[in-house]
Symmetry: C2
Subunit: 536 residues, 2 copies
């Protein structure tokens, strides 16, 4: 198994324990990562809780909204839960496992993995938070001149310079205007501030749109498989019918219009009213960038079939191939000569993604085009339910769409920071893809965009039988074995959905050079040992 | 009409125009404040939009979720819309109306009305946004020493000091711990970080709870009338049955247990499963602080009837009477000897309220007690749908619950800022209540808390007839006449609900001394003229 000290003998025999020892053995089944640990603590401090007659009578799990019960675990399920417990165990006893750290390849959360925030963004935020700084001479020594100028500009855009006031429920008009300008220069087509709704990340606008589109279980949405939880969970919560279409793995995870049409007709023949089509580009978990021609086909399909096109474009800045570039679906539609009246299109963006990964600030927007006024009034009404999105997120979103320009003091450092991160992601993606394609029974498409690779693993029947023996899915079994042998956390394909009989995992490409080399080494050694043990 | 130049002859005859002239006369009925202005602009730039066949086919208002169509206008309806248009008109033509400014007594948005943010809060936020400042010597000249220490402390609570990373979906553990400590010292009873869910303001957690409790239209929630839109709209969106109970105006807007019981039994006799009871204390729009005994009755009622008590306590810091103090419902329940097992209680708080009014940062929490582990797991799952709330809001919430202490550099200034604002609100409230009670046919309960007074107006039958003649409600008619005569914006009682045949309006108490004197003068003159014109 190689001479690496992290490889103890026990790791060469794969008998994963699904439930971690840091959970009480008698705990009931749970559906959320941190629920059991604190249930445990709670029992210690309040003996009456578990069997509490009153609270049990007032509300039991059986009397909750069944749509909530039907939600999938949003945070990665068994694997993520187990990794968190193993981390706690390692903190107590560093020699408990044949490795000394948990390596999180499941989180698209760059700053939690050590990536530093963009300096210019944070300078502007700090100045907007505490504008008093703008009146002090020391500030010119502490902040770059363009950050100071931008902060003044942004404060002037906010009525009364009141960053502590509710904004217009679509977001501060001046910031929406700046974002619309950024979108227009990105696409080469006009964009209007009236079409922009600023939001607390990408989840709230998706939930808003589902609220608008879904009446009951007879309404459906075409959603890619594999795809991340946001869309499927939002549909489940509103009782919508998921109309799945499979991304074409052999075609680099492109969208097959034939399959789209087949799924749509199938759903319609069952009496489902299909309201919209979700497309995620660049893809999560699949990491592809759609070809322009494929996007044209999708636009044509939505127009002909009268579907609202829901375009998740949150990874638009994360493209790692020279052969393809990101095109917004709006740019594609307009390039095809389709205007407001031809296609209903909603594009989602977020500051959690992009190379800067400002996940904690919860900023995002949706651009809403191709709806008549009456419908737009209803979109507005739903948006107003939460008053407005947070102002710091609104400011960051406007900065993302309007980065420093030539001549600005931060121009060089900003683009250097960006280039460093993007090229590191690109390099990590290439190395991962090369590695996975070199492993027995594994194939992995190029990492063209986003932050992930999604290799498929041809699992031996013996491994599948071993998984069934402990009643878990084969891909979960593989990921658990990997975790217990190496400390590497990846998410099994079944979390995202996959073609029956095929098995995958999602691995992020966020690791720095040294860590990446280590991951590659551990993966190679693990996979070799795994295949040796289970080879048919 | 007195010698005030703002009083033109035209204001002595009340013929309000419901639709503002800044809207195109041919505009279709709308349901949201800003929708018409931009519809208008949009028509100018895209002639095809209104009659767009494709976009109309793809999605028409008739094919939207009827629960969305049923939502009430969240932002104050006709009056707020008209005020915004009049403001735009005044900017173009300052002599258009018999006044030169719109006076917004409808907005509970202190900083948008000129209130400055709390210095200490913003110092800490700025330092957390741009931690690089903590390494610079200039910082000690720009920031107070306790803000610097607090920022270091908070950054140490955030794993990897990554303010840009997603937090635990309930919020950063260390910040929840600080908030739990603050709640425990407020109540004198234990509070646990596991019970705290940090949120983007108070709306998201209310929507979460409705998701959990509401299965279909046979599920109901007891909700006060009058009450603000959040609860009613959240119920409408999930198809819940609103089970209204009327606050007792003659008893200072207290809760009548007799009425609660009557409404509950009535709903049950119609086959409604009543899941919970909403109580807002201090009250919005009614401004009352509930008496401790009344709170005990409510706790007892919820316990006996097995209802989840949903306690909106966002105005807990805004109390203006020495006769009453704020008691959290959890403190009341624990004081009665009721523990985890006895009552299911969710308390909502927010940084948008309180004297500091940090509405734009979208921070809040819910404290969830009295549920068994299985139910809590589902609460967690719903909370995880939006990943986490914004970190700045989480930080502010922790500061709100842990203000500067004796000996801290900011201690004096912090409490002086607080005292100034609270006493100004108190003074404004007293003056408003005194004024309204001195006007013909008006009665107004004490402004004990929150940011509002909610006087009732005995409208002459002639005024009611005049309202009916233009097909608007009498209280909307009164508010429109007030707006067109004085520029003062108040919200009619019908926006919040009221006893049939009684008419009210909600007026904020956020105005500074000088502005308040002017509002009082304008109100007195307007009301006198109004009653003279419509006296029976």
């Amino acid at each position: 198994m190689g001479g690496n000290g992290d490889w103890g003998g026990d790791s060469s025999s794969f008998v994963p324990t699904v439930e971690s020892t840091c959970h009480p053995p008698h705990a009931a089944p749970v559906t959320s990562p941190r629920s059991r640990p604190y249930r445990w603590r709670r029992r210690r401090r309040r003996k009456d809780e578990e069997m509490s007659p009153a609270s049990a009578r007032a509300l039991t799990v059986d009397s909750l909204n069944p749509k909530v019960l039907a939600l999938a675990d949003h945070l990665g399920g068994t694997i993520a839960r187990k990794a968190q417990c193993m981390q706690k165990e390692l903190e107590k006893n560093p020699s408990l496992y044949p490795f000394n750290e948990i390596i999180y390849c499941n989180l698209s959360n760059p700053q939690s993995l050590g990536q530093q925030p963009n300096k210019y963004f944070r300078e502007v935020l700090a100045l907007c938070d505490y504008p008093h700084l703008l009146d002090r001479c020391e500030t010119s020594y502490l902040f770059s001149s363009d950050a100071i100028a931008k902060a003044r500009e942004i404060l002037d855009l906010i009525p009364g310079r009141a960053t502590g006031g509710y904004s217009h429920c679509q977001g501060t008009e001046g910031l929406r205007n700046a974002i619309a300008t950024g979108i227009a220069s990105r696409d080469g087509f006009p964009c209007y501030k009236e079409d922009i709704f600023l939001t607390d990340g990408a989840a709230p606008p998706v939930h808003m749109v589902m609220h608008l589109l879904i009446r009951d279980e007879k309404d459906g949405i075409l959603c890619p498989i594999p795809s991340h939880f946001l869309y499927t969970n939002s549909m489940v919560l509103r009782g919508a019918t998921l109309v799945p279409y499979h991304l074409d793995e052999s075609g680099g995870w492109g969208v097959s219009i034939l399959d789209l049409k087949k799924q749509l007709d199938g759903a319609r023949s069952e009496g489902i009213t299909v309201r919209g089509l979700v497309v995620v580009n660049p893809g999560n978990p699949t990491g592809q960038v759609l070809a322009g021609e494929n996007q044209c086909e999708i636009v044509e399909f939505c127009r002909n079939e009268e579907l609202v096109l829901l375009a998740d474009e949150v990874y638009q800045e994360n493209v790692y191939t020279d052969e393809k570039k990101f095109n917004s679906f709006k740019k594609i539609a307009r390039s095809m000569g389709y205007g407001e009246g031809d296609i209903s299109l909603i594009s989602f963006h977020s500051i959690s993604n992009g190379y800067y990964g400002e996940c904690g600030s919860r900023g995002g927007y949706m651009e809403v085009t191709g709806f008549n006024s009456e419908v737009r009034n209803q979109v507005y009404k739903v948006a107003s339910l939460s008053s407005c999105s947070n102002i710091s997120g609104q400011i960051l979103m406007s900065l993302v769409m309007n980065p420093p320009k030539v001549g600005d003091e931060s121009y060089t450092s900003y683009w250097e920071e960006r280039e460093d991160i993007i090229s590191s992601l690109c390099h990590c993606g290439e190395a991962m893809v090369h590695t996975f394609n070199s492993l027995e029974g594994m194939t992995c498409s190029k990492a063209e965009g986003a932050m992930f690779v999604f290799p498929s693993v041809l699992l031996p029947t013996k491994a599948i039988a071993a998984a069934e023996a402990i009643s878990i899915k084969p891909d979960v079994f593989y990921a658990l074995c990997l975790l217990e042998s190496t400390g590497i956390v990846v998410l099994p394909g079944s979390v995202f959905g996959q073609v029956p009989g095929k098995w995958h995992f999602r691995c992020t490409i966020l690791q720095q050079e040294e860590k990446m080399q280590r991951i590659i080494y551990l993966f190679q050694a693990f996979h070799k040992a795994f295949m040796e043990e289970f080879r048919d």
